[in-house]
Symmetry: none
Subunit: 249 residues, 2 copies
Amino acid sequence: MAIAADKHHALRSGLPRYQQVKALILEQIQSGELRANDRVPSEQELVMHFGVSRMTANRALRELASDGYLVRQAGVGTFVADLHGRSQIMKVQNIADEISRRGHIHSADVLTLEKIVAGHDVAERLQLVDEAPVFHSVIVHRENDQPIQIEDRFVCPAAAPEYLQQDFTDTTPNQYLCEVAPLQTVEHTIRAIIPDSRSRALLNMSREEPGLLIRRRTWSDGRPVSTVDLCHPGHRYELTANFQSSNED
Amino acid sequence: MAIAADKHHALRSGLPRYQQVKALILEQIQSGELRANDRVPSEQELVMHFGVSRMTANRALRELASDGYLVRQAGVGTFVADLHGRSQIMKVQNIADEISRRGHIHSADVLTLEKIVAGHDVAERLQLVDEAPVFHSVIVHRENDQPIQIEDRFVCPAAAPEYLQQDFTDTTPNQYLCEVAPLQTVEHTIRAIIPDSRSRALLNMSREEPGLLIRRRTWSDGRPVSTVDLCHPGHRYELTANFQSSNED
DNA sequence: GGTTTCCACTTGTATATACAACCTAAGACA
DNA sequence: TGTCTTAGGTTGTATATACAAGTGGAAACC
């Protein structure tokens, strides 16, 4: 084997190497070091730089392109994609911001803040093994003293070790998690449900009123950080999502 | 090279082989030959069957999994993902496409197709004057003969003059409108509701089941084209939205 | 100068090989 | 019977290698 020319950034973590390469490039994009239409190192350069094989470098770049971060052109090179006009579906992720944007007053009660072992369902959502320890919080958010959301959240301890020490009447878990684990990917699932009696009581809902449940999962560095069920009274809450159509399809 | 044991499905087209393998598997899913949770041939079996290398088979399966069609588990195998009742709000806007992508059969009944005068509410949503003429259609969409959506739509006549002459059991209004008025902007509003008794009957819903209502407005050339209420049974339908956060905000 | 040819670099694909990690089931053993 | 070990199949990753195809510029040629 030839002696590697340049291994300043030798890869060490336990993660697969192609993922480490992906993460490093993504970091440069998200930090602004690499900007739209900038050229990204070629596969061969990554081979030299990180001491990986070309196939590994190829996989990293190919997947980043498939995720929409990069644009590749045979014979030319790889470039940072211009994410201009990317659909900002559900831009609002912080209930406190949303409420204050409407000129109302946000308040919150922390009902639960604990460490528990993950059940099968939660473990799967966070890609942990069954019965792994997770942090769990239940918070009721109010808008002008009227309850508007129950936030039932599970957090992967590795991503936010200090989670249990926070005061969530002051900053929301969302705010805190965004600080400690810059989020990369968000998945939303929206359902209409019949709330159980406890939720109904907490939200001051009548027996007939349906609930709008948003289940959100967030990732950072390719690892799940948190999964949360946001339960809203159907009559007092709605979701809007605007976006421009790009050229797909 | 060893003689291939079984090349009945030898790959011939000019497309890359991994894409041909992907296409063949996808076809089996969408035709219903492979159903949710069915086992998909292992990489080794694909190697035998198609005479490709394991890396090529791996790439085909890996990409299909990354697209959400398959679920893979090390040590166990590869299985068809259960996409039942899932909608990807950003990409898919056509219920017929969405259903066929799940390998199911779409059918539709046109309950109403008429010209009426716009009430105040509809006129406002389409930015027309009160009592302006508008086209109105009500269509029930079914997935494998089970009703899954009531589409209650109002169309601005200027944008689609031939709307009333279309056969919407064949092509959906969405398809037709996309052809005649390339859409620029889409706005979604999502609510949980209690369906009225007619909707409940049409969707085969029980008295307790909530409904998920998506109200969509589309614009073309800066003018509203259409507004539609899509009503779904809460127990059989959910919405998912995935996106990457870029570096804004 | 203008044209063509050719070379270097890039991405895209395909293969053979190797090892690790994971899961299941059959068999060995107590 | 119950528990442990083992073997075989599965996916996940990593590498070295090879060739094809696209691009752009440099060099050769007219």
